[in-house]
């Protein structure tokens, strides 16, 4: 089993399997690539197609136990291969250069200098270039060899260790983390546990007991059109008192290890419906579809469609918003009984109208936000993996694993020499380097050391 796990061929097969599964799944539409409405329509109209999309597209495939098993084996194989390489290194405390796997290139030349001078030039070159030098002396032949670029091995080890950290981040996040959503209207106090909709069942039990309130919401637009700044203040009240934590896009609030990231921002006009002195409906309406309008049930069979115009204008029959700044806020309220429109009115804050004996008011408006509430302990492993992996890859990129051997043999007063280079990955570089070294030695100069 261990032998199988340390097989690099198996690692490649597993990697290819994961890659092919991911590629095939990425071509299938999913709940990210389809809008929520289209996703629901698909579920209603084509159950078979929906089943395929909801089981084989990427966000669903990655939760499939079979896919997870293959990924786990890939992680195990990566770990085993890396451990095996370190163990092998630990046994010999040095890296063996595998000549048989390398490309080689050699040149034979004659130098007018005596063997001792050539040897000293070669040794000078090797020590200047920080090669690991070894020597063999026979009566007629001196062999001096150097090797370098073995840091690539450690680069590769660091990279794979980084990968394993990233692999581990997944289960750590799923098992220890939390993910949910908090949608709240400005200045409304809510219980934290009840207000957050957890993405996993019963997950909200982990949340601390506190009251939550969102204050001082702001949305700023450049030239009234382009999103510029969004933010606010999160007020959490627990037994230790009030905690006021500012938040903005890219600057999440943090409380007891939970991160509150701003995800959505919108307008919430308050709609009040009163009849015979009784309040039938009184809510701040969190509008999520500013273009097409949002529908709310006022009473059985009666719906209101509401659109908020932050900077209202009217041109003939056309109405709309000049900008996204709240310079002239107006709320359009249309009331439907069944499919028939029975009321339509435009309300500035504080306006009211009478419809069939009922009083409709829009006293004011606020803003609402959705905050992603998460706790992801896996992020630390991702960061560690990132550091290890990128440092390892950089070292791997910069290193050039190679060996060079000089055979020196006397030829009368002159010296014959053969320079043979071995290189794992860069033959053209090696060829050039060997030729340069041979030429310099022939000319009686110490070759220039390369990194």
């Amino acid at each position: 089993m261990y032998k199988l796990l340390i097989s690099r061929r198996l690692a490649i097969y597993l990697l290819t399997a994961v890659l092919l599964a991911l590629t095939a799944s990425a071509l299938i539409p999913n709940n990210f690539t389809l809008s929520a409405a289209k996703w629901l329509e698909l579920e209603r109209k084509s159950p078979v197609l929906f089943w395929i999309y909801a089981h084989l597209s990427t966000p669903f495939l990655v939760r499939n136990p079979f896919f997870q098993l293959i990924s786990f084996l890939l992680c195990l194989s990566t770990l085993a291969c890396t451990a095996d390489r370190i163990v092998k290194w630990g046994k010999s405390k040095c890296m063996e250069f595998e000549k048989e796997k390398a490309f080689s290139f050699s040149v034979t030349q004659i130098s007018v200098h005596c063997p001792d001078e050539v040897r000293s030039m070669v040794e000078n070159f090797l020590s200047k270039g920080r090669w690991e030098i070894s020597r063999e002396n026979n009566t007629d032949l001196t062999v001096i060899s150097g090797q370098k670029g073995m840091s690539g091995f450690w680069g590769s080890v660091a990279f794979h260790a980084g990968l394993v950290c990233c692999f581990l981040a997944g289960p750590v996040t799923v098992l220890t983390g939390f993910s949910g959503e908090l949608t709240a209207t400005e200045d409304v106090v809510l219980p934290l546990r009840g207000a957050i909709v957890a993405h996993q069942v019963n997950n909200d039990a982990k949340l601390p007991e506190a009251q939550v309130q969102i204050n001082q919401l702001r949305g700023e637009y450049f030239q009234g059109q382009y999103r510029y700044d969004y933010g606010g203040e999160l007020v959490l009240s627990d037994r230790l008192g009030d905690h006021r934590i500012p938040f903005a896009v890219n600057k999440p609030a943090s409380y007891h290890g939970y991160q509150f990231s701003l995800n959505e921002y919108g307008d919430a006009p308050r709609l009040v419906l009163e009849r015979d002195g009784k309040t039938l409906f009184d809510y701040y309406l969190n509008l999520k579809h500013p273009g097409e309008g949002d529908y709310f049930e006022l009473e059985p069979g009666v719906r209101a469609m509401v659109i908020f115009f932050p900077d209202f204008f009217r041109q003939g029959d056309k109405i709309g918003s000049r900008s996204r700044r709240s310079d002239n806020p107006v709320t359009l309220v249309r009331i439907f009984r069944g499919d028939r429109e029975v009321f339509k009115g435009l309300f500035k804050p504080g306006d009211e109208e009478i419809w069939e004996g009922s009083r409709i008011r829009v006293p004011d408006y606020r803003h609402w936000v959705t905050l992603n509430v998460t706790k992801e302990q896996g992020i630390l492993l991702v960061m560690l993996g990132f550091l290890l992996g990128s440092a390892g890859l950089l070292v791997r990129f910069l290193s050039n694993e190679r060996r060079i051997e000089f055979e020196l043999f006397p030829m009368g007063e002159q010296t014959g020499f053969k320079v043979r280079g071995y290189c794992r990955y860069y033959p053209a570089f090696l060829e050039k380097e060997v030729l340069e070294i041979a030429q310099k030695l022939e000319e009686g100069q110490v070759p220039v050391a390369r990194p």
Binding site: F32, V62, R227, A248, F260, S261, I379, S390, F397, A428
Partner: protein, 270 residues
């Protein structure tokens, strides 16, 4: 687009197009002077391209990294920079311009079609990670694209005996360049993905969400990871490696056009 940005960009585009034609001519008709002039023109075009970026950066007050136009403006600049650095260290890589400039013109054209409105940096982009994420994304794309050129040239040169193809760089040099470029691209893409994950954690509260752009970036990274394993572990070189360099680019193309592939949190960032 700012006035001077548009002027500089059009000069750069025309110069890239002319340098491509000069190079192609020089290569086919064995005219070294035309090739040299074409190369100088590429350098000049790069200068104007840099000026266009500088003007835009000055006017908008931020690095051009938002939406398609700015990404294509900065991305093509990095692709040309990758080529020029490569040419500096490996002079035989000079003819790569024949393959690089048409792709640069295509990407720029696609970006310009989407319009280059001047606007401030949106809140979601206001993070220090933008520099790391976007810069390394384009470095990886530039490296993979140049590796693709090396692979394509390898295949052309190996198959054909036509005289102008013989003047392309040596086969073993093309093979080696493609490996080095893929290794660098793989490193750059790793940094891009990891920095994106950390940025996403601060922005959306999660570091990975299987969004289409995230999925395709992982797929293309795994494609190049497999590519490197096949070369380094199984010793694939020559034609097989060249085919891998050519075919692997399609993963990246999916990633690039993934921005338009349905909805994604990368297109609706907040």
């Amino acid at each position: 687009m700012a006035f001077w940005e548009e002027i500089f960009l059009w000069i750069a585009i025309i110069a890239y197009a002319v340098s491509f034609l000069l190079f192609l001519n020089g290569l086919i008709f064995k005219k070294e002077r035309l090739q040299l002039f074409g190369f100088r023109l590429t350098e000049a075009a790069f200068g104007f391209h840099t000026a266009a970026i500088a003007v835009r950066w000055y006017v908008t007050g931020h690095m051009p990294a938002m939406y398609t136009y700015e990404n294509s403006l900065a991305g093509t600049w990095i692709i040309i920079l990758t080529y020029l650095v490569l040419r500096r260290f490996f002079p035989p890589a000079r003819p790569f311009v024949v393959a690089v400039t048409p792709l640069v013109l295509l990407i720029l054209g696609n970006g310009m079609l989407t319009g280059g409105e001047l606007r401030p940096l949106e809140p979601a982009f206001r993070s220090n990670w933008i520099f790391v994420h976007v810069l390394f994304a384009w470095f990886s794309f530039g490296s993979y694209l140049t590796a693709f050129c090396a692979g394509a040239m390898y295949l052309l040169k190996e198959k054909s005996s036509k005289s102008f193809l013989i003047r392309l760089p040596e086969l073993n040099l093309l093979d080696e360049l493609s490996l080095r470029l893929i290794l660098f691209g793989f490193f750059a893409q790793a940094v891009m993905i990891a920095s994106g994950a950390i940025w996403a954690h601060g922005l959306w509260g999660r570091y990975w969400g299987w969004d289409p752009v995230e999925t395709w970036s992982l797929i293309s990274w795994l494609v190049y990871g497999t590519n490197l394993h096949l070369r380094v572990t199984l010793g694939w070189t020559g034609r097989k490696a060249a085919w891998m360099a050519v075919v692997s680019l399609f993963g990246i193309i999916f990633l690039y056009f993934g921005f338009g592939h349905g909805s994604s949190v990368h297109t609706i960032v907040f």
